[in-house]
């Protein structure tokens, strides 16, 4: 077990003290933002499953051939496939790993975990949440009553079973997870990084507080005045955030609440291709959609106007009566 399983508190505080937490503009390009993610880092990913995945940021990291990343996310979908299939990550911490319930098992995950030497570290969904929350609270662990008695706990020496000092009950302590960097996609934020999230927030607030740096990608950059008109909608405060990138449709082909649903024809074609051949199918997918396009807009063009507009119509319909 690495000695850095739980980051020592003094080191967490030192890193925090060194961060520039002043109210300052931090808008950069996707290429520049990728510079915050270095080989070997622990990278937390916001959203869940097919929702608010920071796909554009992952797309850029894959194009820049990062390596040896350790990814954590509450539930992974095709993003899990892509980080293993592209080779940027060799370790994924999550509670569920497949493309989506509609498509059964991920052959990509199976290939890399069963034969390819990559690690899928499984925790219960709530345990992932408690790990980010402990990280965000500045404590080394949190107790939970889940996972006890299961074989998952036997596979996780990182978790410690104790007898509660107050009641004597069995409890499981799960270690804090403080990613080096978090990638989070939101509907809107200002140039300082005050981020507003519509709909499902998943574990993004805890993740942002836990991480030692945060890259926000956003559908829109709005003015600070707009943020101040509805401060109750701000879910991530600016001082957590180190970079802001405006990327419309930055979760495609996954969804972004109120703006677009998942692009299901693209997802189905992807799943058919990579599950038919998790190596060659994945390589062809990455060549066509990740390495060849000159820009994120060109990637969206390849997904196709019809598909993007249909997903947009469905996404906006959440606000219809």
């Amino acid at each position: 077990m690495p000695d850095t399983l739980v980051e020592p508190y003094t080191r967490l505080r030192e890193k925090m003290a060194q961060r520039d937490r002043s109210l300052r503009e931090k808008v950069v390009s996707l290429e520049e933002a990728a510079g915050f993610v270095q080989d070997g880092m622990k990278v937390g990913i916001g959203g869940s499953t097919m929702s608010r995945t920071p796909m554009a940021m992952l797309w850029e990291l894959i194009r820049q051939h990062r390596k040896d990343l350790s990814i954590s996310r509450c539930i992974v979908s095709t993003d899990g496939d892509l980080v293993f299939g592209s080779g940027i990550a060799n370790h994924v911490v999550t509670s569920w790993f497949a493309q989506g319930i509609l498509w059964g098992l991920s052959k990509v995950m199976r290939h890399h975990v069963e034969n390819g030497g990559k690690r899928y570290e499984e925790w219960s969904h709530m345990a992932v949440g408690m790990r980010f929350r402990a990280g965000g609270m500045g404590v080394p662990f949190l107790p939970t009553r889940a996972m006890l008695g299961s074989d998952i706990v036997g596979q996780r020496p990182e978790a410690k079973q104790i007898d509660c000092p107050f009641t004597g009950e069995k409890l499981l302590l799960v270690p804090a997870l403080n990613p080096d960097v978090a990638l989070i996609h939101v509907q809107r934020c200002d140039p300082y990084g005050n981020a507003q999230i519509d709909g499902l927030q998943f574990m993004d607030i805890d993740l942002a507080l836990a991480a030692n740096s945060v890259i926000l990608t956003t559908e829109r950059i709005v003015s600070n005045d707009q943020i101040r008109r509805a401060p109750d909608q701000t879910k991530i405060p600016f001082f957590c955030v180190d970079a802001v990138v405006e990327v419309p449709y930055g979760s495609a082909p996954h969804e972004c609440y109120g703006l677009y649903e998942p692009m299901m024809r693209h997802m189905e074609a992807y799943v058919a291709q990579v599950n038919a051949d998790p190596v060659k199918g994945m390589q062809e997918y990455l060549d066509r959609y990740f390495y060849s396009p000159k820009s994120w807009n060109e990637y969206l063009s390849l997904i196709g106007m019809d598909e993007v507009l249909e997903a947009t119509q469905k996404g906006r319909s959440i606000y219809n009566d």
Binding site: T49, H125, R145, M147, S150, D151, L171, L200, F202, I318
Partner: protein
């Protein structure tokens, strides 16, 4: 038309699962048949059923024909009462707000333990399955209904890996493991409805589905089954149940 031709295996699974829920309950539902069956119960007998999803949804009211592809999609929130973070909705289970958890299963054993992690030796698995998601949290912390396909390879004496605990090794082993609350309550398949013995915590057949024999259930199960003294035959799906179910899932996303 014979009885069996009136509905598919996945339709009777959804309908019999929905019948296990009671009006006024708080139910934590997984994706697929559980989501569909909970919604069916809500639109038929249980208008005051409160449905939770692990994406963070409290009081879901899923729209007919717009079933979400996972419990983390925006469609889950339409007309819901509240949206929480996903850790917080799972913590409602730990605090005890949830009456019943409701999920699918890939492999189950005689004590109701579920495996969704590994087929074969976990150290060198034949198949790495997707994993627990919220399944372990739900089954650790509340009373469970499981809806699943009935096949010999899925109904085994002992699961390869306990992802979501049932009664572990039977008797008091669940409580002794640090899980004082909840446990497996019902298992629904296209062949039968199962419960668990109060003392041994071993699975037993409570009711046969219409047109299904004892032998058929036993032949599709990988261990010796007990049959309840009060064994009966479940009443067939009503037209109203079938019509409502097909209205909710016209594209047969979860009832193929």
């Amino acid at each position: 038309m014979t009885e069996a031709q009136r509905y598919t295996a996945s339709e009777i699974l959804a309908i019999l699962s929905a019948r296990q829920l009671q009006d006024g309950q708080v139910v934590f539902a997984g994706i697929g048949t559980p989501l569909l069956a909970a919604t069916l119960a809500q639109r038929t007998r249980c208008p005051a059923l409160t449905i939770l999803f692990e994406g963070g949804v409290v009081g879901a009211f899923v729209e007919p024909g717009k079933l979400p592809p996972s419990t983390n999609d925006q469609r889950c929130t339409k007309r819901a009462n509240m949206v929480l973070g996903s850790a917080d909705v799972l913590l409602l289970l730990q605090r005890g707000y949830v009456d019943v958890g409701f999920m699918g299963g890939a492999q189950i054993d005689q004590f109701g333990n579920l495996n969704s992690s590994f087929i074969g030796d976990p150290a060198k698995p034949k198949t790495r399955l997707p994993g627990t998601g919220g399944g372990n949290d739900i089954s650790s912390l509340t009373n469970m209904i499981v809806a699943m396909k009935h096949e010999k390879r899925r109904f085994v004496e002992k699961v390869d890996f306990i992802t979501s605990p049932g009664f572990i090794r039977g008797g008091t082993s669940r409580r002794d493991s640090g899980l004082p609350s909840g446990g497996m309550w019902r298992v629904i398949t296209e062949l039968a409805v199962f419960g668990f013995d109060d003392r041994t915590r071993r699975i037993k057949v409570l009711a046969l589905n219409p047109g299904v024999s004892r032998e058929e259930v036993q032949d599709n199960t990988g261990f010796r089954l007990d049959f309840d003294e009060m064994l009966h035959v479940t009443s067939p799906p009503t037209d109203h149940e079938l019509e409502t179910l097909r209205m909710l899932d016209p594209d047969r996303l979860f009832t193929a």
